[in-house]
């Protein structure tokens, strides 16, 4: 059974909840329209379709678009070797979706990381704490509106209080931003 066939099976089972499989570079992506039902789909994929291994969960900040968050699940079946990517969107107001730790235990730390970096909460997670940043850190650093230099904070010792050397430097290429000629500091008039 190929990855596409398993994807079709998932599509037949859940119907409109799941989009048509999209293929790019040999990888199959399925979009799940309702984030609240992700557990049900993952559970079916694990028990019925043999996707016993969760490779990774990651998140994307579609800043300026609605819905703002995309959570991406990478599923793999060790027995058949197929891979599947599930994507689901979460709105900024809600910023919450159910946890899949009940399906795969490895989701625990991946979800903690997403909460830490993006601020998306996972309801039902057994231990939703920050993991890479420290308890009490006030921001979510991987959000697109969080500057590369960090943000000042009233709390002493929390977040950066002055610009990190990377910000605005000649080696920073912002997506869709200025190119290196415009960024070259020697030809730029000082702004501050």
């Amino acid at each position: 059974m190929t990855a596409l066939e398993t994807a079709q099976k998932l599509k037949t089972k859940f119907g409109d909840l799941i989009s048509e499989p999209a293929e790019f570079r040999g990888e199959i992506t399925l979009r799940v329209s309702d984030a609240d039902r992700i557990v049900e789909i993952c559970d079916f994929a694990k028990t019925e379709l043999g996707f016993d291994y969760l490779t990774d969960i990651s998140s994307v900040d579609n800043y300026g678009e609605d819905p703002r968050w995309t959570v991406v699940y990478h599923l793999r079946g060790l027995a058949h070797g197929n891979e599947l990517r599930l994507k689901t969107n979460v709105s900024e107001e809600k910023s919450e979706l159910p946890t899949v730790t009940t399906v795969w235990k490895t989701a625990d730390w991946h979800e903690r990381e997403i909460y830490d970096m993006m601020g998306i909460r996972f309801s039902g997670h057994p231990d939703l704490r920050r993991i890479l940043m420290w308890e009490g850190y006030p921001y979510f650093p991987l959000r697109k509106d969080f500057p590369l230099a960090g943000k000042p904070s009233e709390l002493p010792g929390v977040a950066f209080t002055k610009s990190a050397p990377l910000e605005g430097g000649p080696f920073v290429t912002a997506p869709g931003g200025k190119d290196a000629i415009e960024r070259e500091p020697r030809v730029r008039t000082p702004e501050e």
Binding site: F24, R25, E27, T29, D52, Y53, L54, T55, D56, S58, S59, V60, D61, V72, H74, L78, G81, E83, R85, W104, K105, T106, D108, W109, H110, E113, M117, R130, I131, L132, M133, W134, P141, L142, F146, L148, L166, F171, V172, T173, A174, P175, G176, D179, A180, I181
Partner: protein
């Protein structure tokens, strides 16, 4: 007449279980012990909050993130090529393998991974296998040293030194190699490198045999690691372990075999798997993997297109000026090459919009890159799936019931590196 006698194995897991039983009558208070972040056995900056009942661990809570540098945030703000040096610093014990993994991920996004010249593929395989040996040697040396066998550490570091010399010869740097480029490698192998590599292979196997005689049947070593921290097949899959830790639990999963990339399908090698899933199995799997890596290296030396000095000028980069920097002399004399160089340096290569995930069999496990591109020279989002991060998440499961002196053995057998875990 010979007699057969049963000897009770004084394994630490049974010892710990018995100790817990005995201790149940003693109404002792539980003690919380903070191990790390700077503790020699944590190989970096891992902190574990242990709850102890006497000497037996009842709860363990790992605390990671002390080495967090925001690599994923940085990646969003630079071109794909500019990020290569950052990959050196992920698993800093195997920078060459990280370079290969990252380059392959971006090439998958560009759709050129099938067009890589064969010589480049062989060079990259050799880099990845040298990195595997180097990483396993350090993991093994530190593991043994933490349990008191300092000699092993000195032996393995002698061999690592030779690998560093090989890395220096190809990239100019011993540690932070940054050797690969998107679409190829920085430069071809220097003259005489293959002979040096063959010399290393010849010298390495006797040295590994010496380590093997020091440890594999050593009573003290076996007593310390056998039946300790057993990870069942189900747990290993459920917790998403990868690399030698997954194979130590008896699951034959190796990305080099299951999803062959580069020229691995043309090479012969075996995948060692454990049978019990204890620390001893993980140790044995790593020992055998090093032997298999040498096997791969020797085949590569024999089969590499172009041979040692590449007289027939086999290319090492894809012939696409929009991806690989042109030779400098052409930039200086030709218009088109000048434009390509200018565009590549100022804006990076033009990647198509889309998303890919590429997993590479790194020494520590599956190093994966999820790249979400919206077109252009920078990734919109890059997630690094770090094997050490995932492998460490099993600590709360396997630590309880073990003795506190076993923590160093378990941590050594998991073989993690914090630079990759914390990113």
């Amino acid at each position: 007449m010979a007699t057969v006698q049963d000897i009770e194995i004084r394994d630490s897991a049974a010892r710990a279980a018995r100790a817990t039983e005995e201790l149940q009558d003693v109404q002792g208070e539980k003690m919380v012990l903070n191990m790390g972040p700077s503790h020699p056995a944590t190989h970096g900056v891992l902190r574990i909050v242990l709850e102890l009942d006497g000497e037996v661990i009842t709860k363990a809570d790992p605390d990671v993130g002390y080495l967090h540098r925001g690599d994923e945030k940085i990646a969003e703000n630079m071109t794909y090529t500019q990020f290569i040096p950052y990959t050196d610093r992920l698993d800093y014990l195997a920078p060459l393998a990280n370079n290969v993994a990252y380059a392959l991920a971006v090439e998958k996004l560009l759709g050129i991974e099938k067009d890589l010249p064969p010589r480049c593929q062989y060079i990259r395989v050799m880099c990845a296998e040298l990195a595997r040996i180097s990483s396993h040697l350090l993991g093994l040396g530190a593991f043994a040293m933490d349990l008191g066998a300092v000699t092993v550490f000195l032996l393995t570091f002698t061999d690592r030194e030779k690998i560093y010399n090989l890395a220096e010869a190809i990239s100019g740097a011993r540690f932070t190699t940054s050797y690969t480029r998107i679409g190829g490698v920085m430069r071809d192998l220097p003259p005489g490198w293959l002979e040096q590599c063959q010399k290393f292979c010849d010298e390495f196997i006797p040295s590994l045999n010496e380590v093997e005689t020091l440890l594999t049947r050593n009573r003290i070593w076996v007593d310390r690691v056998r039946n300790l921290a057993v990870i069942s097949k189900e747990d290993a899959i459920d917790y998403g372990l990868s690399g030698p830790n997954l194979r130590g639990s008896g699951i034959e999963w190796d990305l080099r075999k299951k999803q062959p990339y580069l020229c691995y399908k043309d090479l012969e090698f075996d995948i060692p798997v454990g049978s019990v899933g204890d620390c001893y199995d993980r140790y044995l799997v790593r020992m055998e993997e090093m032997r298999q890596s040498v096997r791969i290296l020797e085949q590569c030396i024999q089969k590499i297109p172009g041979g040692a000095d590449n007289k027939i000028k086999e290319p090492v980069n894809v012939p696409d000026g929009k991806i690989v920097l042109p030779p400098k002399q052409n930039v200086m004399t030709k218009m088109e090459e000048l434009i390509h160089q200018f565009m590549l340096v100022t804006q990076g290569m033009n990647c198509p919009p889309g998303e890919i995930y590429f997993g590479h069999e790194n020494p520590k496990g599956e190093l994966g890159f999820y790249i979400n591109s919206r077109g252009g020279g920078t990734p919109y989002r890059m997630k690094i799936r770090a094997p050490s991060f995932v492998n460490l998440s099993i600590i709360p499961k396997i630590f309880p019931g073990c003795l506190i002196s076993d923590t160093v053995a378990i941590l050594g057998s998991l073989d993690f590196v914090m630079g990759e875990c914390d990113r």
